[in-house]
């Protein structure tokens, strides 16, 4: 481990966990999309090839991001936020954004499409992590410090809901609250705003009938097995078929068009069908380890006083946790149906690029912790003081 660590200028644990999830994703997508690709594109490897291309692009972008020092992100937070909001506005413009299944979420880029909310999520993260550093004292003492990021969050949420993208909104709001909480925001105002937000989310749910329909479909999909419950039932059947070790890679029946577009948001169901409970546990375990490691990096950064790094890592950990939990929760019927990708695993370029970039930022922050020996030496002292 030491030698690998020396040769590699980054944390091998994080790197290997990320790569492992991407490998699982590639295998799962290949298996889940082979029939779909053959039927729609006359090429069973159609989605695998495209996903491989996304992987290459993502790793290139992530490598680039890795060489950018954290100071740069901190300094350009506002710029990123403006860019993210611009994307969200752009996608809503008629004729620019692409409407798929009633949601206007994609910007066409030649043969590819860009999912605006994925990038917006990333930019809000950068902005918020910086804001918490710049206005830390104000945040902890006065409610005005708390109100400014709330306004930004509200704006982005409204834009996301206009698409509509309820899932991304929830992830973003929860992540933002988590980051604020971890940054030490005043408990009274925090709890007040949080209860307001929860009330707002509930109101949103009941404002749009299709969300109510989705909610009822999730609580009892068997009530309407060929209508609103169809997709979830097919997903649950995939889980049920899997048992302990699965039906074997490639042997899924649900991917034979029963589970619509099984390689995208429901790829975990096919994975669970083919590799069973053990395969599902492997993926959940990888996520737990990855997020745990990111939290560990965040805590280290917090301890040595790298506030921006800590905030960013907390944000990344929360985004990954939220998305992984919602995605797996949705496909197993634990949560109402939401179109959220499984980080590193689901098919799709935008999600993959953003996830890899986020991981690259964490890796960079972790490396900066290591190469600052004075801080490292100071760490134990800080820790003791914090506990005292």
């Amino acid at each position: 481990m030491i030698s690998l660590r020396e040769r590699l200028p980054m944390d091998p644990t994080l790197l290997l966990l990320g790569l492992a999830l991407m490998a699982v994703g590639l295998v799962a997508i290949s298996s889940a999309s082979v029939e779909y690709g053959t039927f729609h594109h006359d090429n069973g490897w159609y989605h695998t090839q495209r996903h491989l291309f996304y992987l290459v692009v993502s790793l290139a972008v992530a490598t680039g991001a890795y060489f950018v020092p954290a100071q740069f992100w901190l300094a350009t937070g506002w710029f990123w936020l403006l860019g993210g909001v611009a994307l969200l506005v752009l996608v809503l413009l008629p004729g620019v954004g692409k409407d798929v299944n009633g949601s206007q979420r994609w910007l066409p880029l030649g043969p590819f499409t860009l999912q605006a909310s994925e990038f917006a999520k990333f930019t809000v993260l950068i902005y918020l992590a910086g804001y918490l550093v710049r206005h830390g004292d104000e945040l902890r003492s006065r409610w005005q410090g708390f109100a400014k990021p709330m306004a930004v969050l509200l704006l982005v949420s409204v834009l996301l809901m206009a698409e509509p993208d309820f899932g991304a909104t929830v992830i973003l709001v929860v992540t933002a609250f988590g980051m604020l909480f971890l940054a030490g925001v005043k408990l009274t105002s925090f709890l007040g705003v949080m209860s307001l937000s929860v009330a707002g989310l509930v109101a949103l749910v009941f404002a749009a009938p299709y969300r109510v329909a989705r909610l009822t479909a999730y609580t009892d999909p068997w009530a309407d097995p060929y209508g609103s419950g169809f997709q979830l039932i097919q997903s649950l059947i995939a889980f049920g078929r899997g048992e302990w070790v699965g039906v074997g890679l490639g042997n899924s029946i649900q991917k034979l068009f029963y589970l619509p577009e099984a390689h995208t948001d429901f790829v975990f169901s096919i994975w669970a069908e083919e590799t069973g409970f053990l395969g599902a546990m492997l993926v959940i375990g990888l996520f737990v380890a990855l997020i745990g490691r990111i939290l560990w990096v965040a805590r280290q950064a917090q301890i040595v006083g790298d506030e921006f790094g800590a905030n960013l890592c907390f944000g990344v950990a929360l985004v990954f946790s939220g998305q992984a939990f919602v995605n797996i929760g949705v496909s197993s019927g634990l949560l109402p149906t939401k179109g959220l990708t499984l980080p590193f695993v689901s098919y799709g370029g935008s999600s993959l690029i953003v996830c890899c970039t986020m991981l690259a930022l964490v890796l960079r922050i972790e490396r900066d912790l290591c190469v600052a020996p004075s801080r490292k030496a100071a760490a134990p002292a800080n820790k003791k003081r914090a506990r005292a």
Binding site: E35, F39, Q71, V133, G136, D137, G178, F181, L182, A183, G184, W222, I233, L236, I237, F239, G240, R241, G242, E243, W244, I253, Q254, L256, F257, Y258, A272, G276, F277, A280, M281, I284, F287, V288, I291, L295, R299, Q302, G305, D306, E307, F314, A317, L318, S321, A324, F325, I328, G329, S332, G333, L334, A378, N382, A386, R387
Partner: protein, 586 residues
Amino acid sequence: MSRAPRKTVIAPWRFYLVVIALLALPTLLVGRVLSLQVLDTDRGRSFLQNQGDLRSVRNAEIPAYRGVISDRRGEPLAVSTPVISLWTDPAILAGVEDLSALAGALETTPSALRERLDNYAGKRFIYLQRHLVPVAARDILALRIPGVYGKREYRRFYPAGEVVGQLVGFTNTDGAGITGLELAYDEWLKGVPGQKQYIKDLHGDAVRDIGVLEPARPGKDLRLSIDLRLQYLHHQELQRAMALTGASAGTIVTLDSHTGEVLAMVNHPVYNPNSRRGITPAQTRNRAMTDMYEPGSTMKAFTLVAALESGRYSTETLIDTSPGRIRVGRKVFPDPRDYGEITVSRIIEKSSQVGVTRIALDLGHQPILDVFARFGIGSMLATGFPGESAGLLPNRERWSDVEKATLAFGYGLTATPLQLAHAYSAFANDGILQPVSLLATGQPGTDGTRIISGDLAAQVLTVLQRVTEEHGTARKAQVPGYHVGGKTGTVHKVGPGGYQDNKYIALFAGIAPIEDPRFVTVVIINEPQGEAYGGGAAAAPVFSRVAQGTLRLLNVPPEVPAPAELTVAAPASHTSGAIPRAEVSG
């Protein structure tokens, strides 16, 4: 990179609270996945698997292989070959934009196909095309047109075609026998379809087989008594006779006289069972078993039996037939010329109406009817062949002399060609009548019935042989190298106004070889044209050629090994394409 660590003092409990909250998430997921995949909870694993199977597992019928019908030597007469029928769900196919590829493959036009789909708009199953050869069907299925599926079936082929068409019959497109032996032995041949399970995808395409629930039980094979070589020979000779006589229809049937097996049975007109468009009942009818004819003078052999059994006649009893005609009631039955005083044997040889009438009036109708009935005339042969006729023996209270006389020479009753052959087989089998069999038995049945004494049978054979000799009416029935016997018949056809003067049926019932009979052949030529319309002129030559070929194929050694025969026979056998007799006998 803020310098002052004092600012970063954030209570650690916030971090640990978030960690604990985040740890709750995977715990929830693991519990949920566990209950779905491993623990058998309500609506858990087994419920889900069952629901999945309801959606994706289907049962399909495995078609059963229909038994092969073969001739006595195993030559196939009816075989089933695997084919694929294309069917469609019109509701799905109607939604396909471009039907031109499919229409092209089905050799129709897109508009015609579209119209057909519209006609069946409410249905979920129609056949696009039945019984395609598997390669062609797979090419069409490879187009992957939604809603087009293939179904495995068997198609019946008849390698011998028209030659045995009427006897074997045929099946309908669903593989059920509808005529002939295909119908008679349908239960035996058809087998029991099995069931298998397979997984289909959402589009309905079968993806993989799970297993066989119940294997298909193939039908049993059927070995017929006919010999395809003899059948071809009979067919060829009948076609030739049709051409020579200009007749409209005909039948030849040959029966193994020891076993009662039908060795050959052909009819004209014929049809091709492999291509049945536009066929008529006249072509499919197996006339040898379904059509009834008045047998005419061929019945005189049985009148002879009645005469000999009465004890008042022997074959050499003299009867005066002068002046060559006899008046019975208001009818006059003439002979071709005045034969004078001749023996009973010669009466049969010459087929003398006067002589037979005298005998009949002397015996009365009852002994004659008894003999006819004993030989099976008027009762079913019980072969089980669909549409088999029993023929008709008259049964009346009062008999006029005319009726007694005409009964004796074969009018006023009907029989099928096979019944006639069957009746003659008793003469050829030492007086024992074997039941007729259409299936190969290979040996004499034990349930044969003696109906006349062996001595009597031998006497009749002697007379029948004389019929084919120099004084007889059937000299054209002779077969070079062998002695044969038989009896001619010429009957007026019955039309709307009774018997018709210019329409005849020519018959011949023959036995060969006469010393040790092997088979009986009945030839019936319906409406021969021109002067050669009689049994001796139209039917007897056909018997000669058929018997000659049959004797050769049955490896019966010639009984007349005279060197003189060689020179006579050789040219004749050359013309018929047979092996020169010198080689056979030498």
